[in-house]
Amino acid sequence: MSIISLQDIHKYYGDYHALRGINCEIGEGEFFSLLGPSGCGKTTLLRVIGGFEDVSSGAVILGGQNMAGVPANKRPTNMVFQSYAIFPHLSVAQNVGYGLRKARLSKAEQDAKVTEALEMVGLSGYGARAAHALSGGQRQRVALARALILKPKVLLLDEPLSALDKKMREQMQTELRRLQRQVGITFILVTHDQEEALIMSDRIAVMFEGEIAQVAAPQELYRRPVNRRVGEFIGVMNFLDARHIEGADGKVRFDIHGLGKAVIEPANLPQGARAYAPVVGLRPEALSLIYEGDAPPGKRMAEGDVADLSYYGDMTYYEVLLDGMTDPVTISMKNLASRPVLERGARTRVTWDEGSLVVFGA
């Protein structure tokens, strides 16, 4: 049962076409992310849902009701702003309880709700503090408590973690996820950080230039991006030219430049890809170096030189120039004692996982 239904939404700023026909269903209790590079329209879409921007055409259906003409203050949504927008002249408790003024509750009931909300975000006892004396992470929590206290149908989060440092960001990612499960409210998160989206979301919509390119669960998105652009944006992907070979046995085979022949899983084949020379995509972890003592890879083997490498501690990313190719491929390897890190210029053999190949149209 979807709580939000976005129907053919267009948004123009003068001549600029910011949203170009957005169609999307977001489920109740879902953690949904809008992911894309800056300027792709993700924040505009979030503000359209929240009622801060009106649409040029199309409809936002929220809980079965068309939101056309409903201003932000009357919508069952609440927002955590990128800057947090903590009212600097009010205390923490006054900030958190700000939206309760219209709820016609007694003072005691209001206080109880504020205390409960502060507890939920781990800020018990902070109520009397001045808002402008808080740290970034604490402001974030106050903003969350202030929005969640009103029990909205949907919580909108506009890049809520971008102002935090790396450690604090990682901590808040797990905490936000926990909080979302606890309250069971639909969260819609805007982010440009693909890792953050993969970690936190039930489903992700990837946006480019005002359009949704793909909506999928994190694993599906990573494993089967619908086009090169999505594949490139989510993680790292190697793209290799390939030629389609019609097999006599009915199986789909490709001759992949630099790697050789491969049989492709039907699920990894997009519609119509057979018709012309396709491109195949392969994640760095789907390729591996062959060390002495590894099981022989059979036919799936190529050779090349290590052109460059980046050492990350747990992993090493190799740039390997396969024989007969002009651009290197990226290969990631776990660092184990039995697998010494190769040096630049080393000769190496490479194998790949056939099942992980993804075929793109061209």
């Binding site: 932000a72 203050n73 609440n78 927002m79 702003f81 800057s83 927008a85 009212f87 219209k102």
Partner: protein, 269 residues
């Protein structure tokens, strides 16, 4: 510390700036009717004399009423313009704002004669406190806008959106969030406008009616050497009053900066 010569120059310059200001209280307390050195002795007679001059009291009251009205009008007009220019984009914004700020650089005599022409020759109305207020509001509004703009500028626009998101209407969000946050700027601009109006002479001289303002009264007194010691005493009192008002304005401005958690960056002028 470096800048040795500059420092000496700076101090000399300050002496130049303060020379007339220091003389003012010296002659105000000087027991002699001639404004010249050497000083004669200490007296508070001139201050006592002030209490007995009824024309002065009338001029003072007139000036205060004009200054209060001017400051109120300027701040209201200033809030409209500062808010519109910092929050919205609209057609012809730059020329409109430019026109509103023009009195800041326009010679005051031009403002004075143009209003005089319209009031007396075109509309055929008598000059009164209102004509002075009209002129003063014209020159004070740009000052109010300058101060208020920086107050509005510092506000995060999402504060207002957050209030609306939490259930308030546009007007409630303005009243409950924006106004309290810019209140120090409002107080500061009110006090600055009040002080400018109180001291303004050129426009007042052209546009004042039967009731003179304080500077117009002082101008009249400067012709009579015997009246000058009392004028010095009056000037001293006005300086003290100005300094108190400005200190209050500065206090509010700083509190405003602290309130939104910003960093202080110098005075308001």
């Amino acid at each position: 510390m470096t800048g040795g010569w500059l420092r000496i120059y700076a101090i000399t310059y300050l002496v130049f700036l303060y020379l007339p200001v220091i003389l003012l209280p010296m002659f105000a307390f000087n027991d002699g009717t001639v404004i010249a050195f050497p000083l004669q002795g200490f007296t508070t007679e001139w201050f006592v004399q002030l209490a007995g001059i009824e024309a002065l009291h009338g001029a003072l009251l007139n000036s205060v009423i004009i200054a209060l009205t001017t400051a109120s009008l300027s701040v209201v007009l200033g809030i409209c313009a500062a808010r519109a220019s910092t929050r919205f984009t609209f057609p012809f914004k730059a020329p409109i704002m430019g026109a509103i700020m023009v009195p800041l650089v326009l010679p005051e005599i031009i403002v004075a004669v143009s209003l005089l022409v319209v009031v007396v020759q075109v509309l055929n109305l008598p000059l009164s406190a209102w004509t002075v207020i009209a002129g003063h509001t014209l020159i004070c509004t740009p000052f109010a806008i300058a101060i208020l703009s920086s107050a509005f500028q510092g506000l995060d626009q999402s504060l207002e959106e957050a209030a609306i998101d939490l259930g308030e209407t546009r007007w409630e969000a303005f009243k409950n969030i924006i106004l309290p946050l810019v209140a120090p700027g409002i107080v500061a601009s009110f006090l600055i406008c009040f002080t400018i109006s109180l001291d303004e002479f050129i426009i007042a001289f052209f546009l004042t009616g039967a009731e003179p303002t304080l500077p117009v009264y002082i101008w009249g007194q400067l012709r009579f050497p015997t009246k000058i010691p009392a004028v010095m005493a009056l000037g001293t009192l006005m300086l003290v009053a100005s300094l108190i008002i400005l200190s209050v304005a500065e206090f509010y401005r700083r509190r405003g900066v602290a309130r939104v958690g910003g960093k202080d960056s110098g005075g308001f002028l």
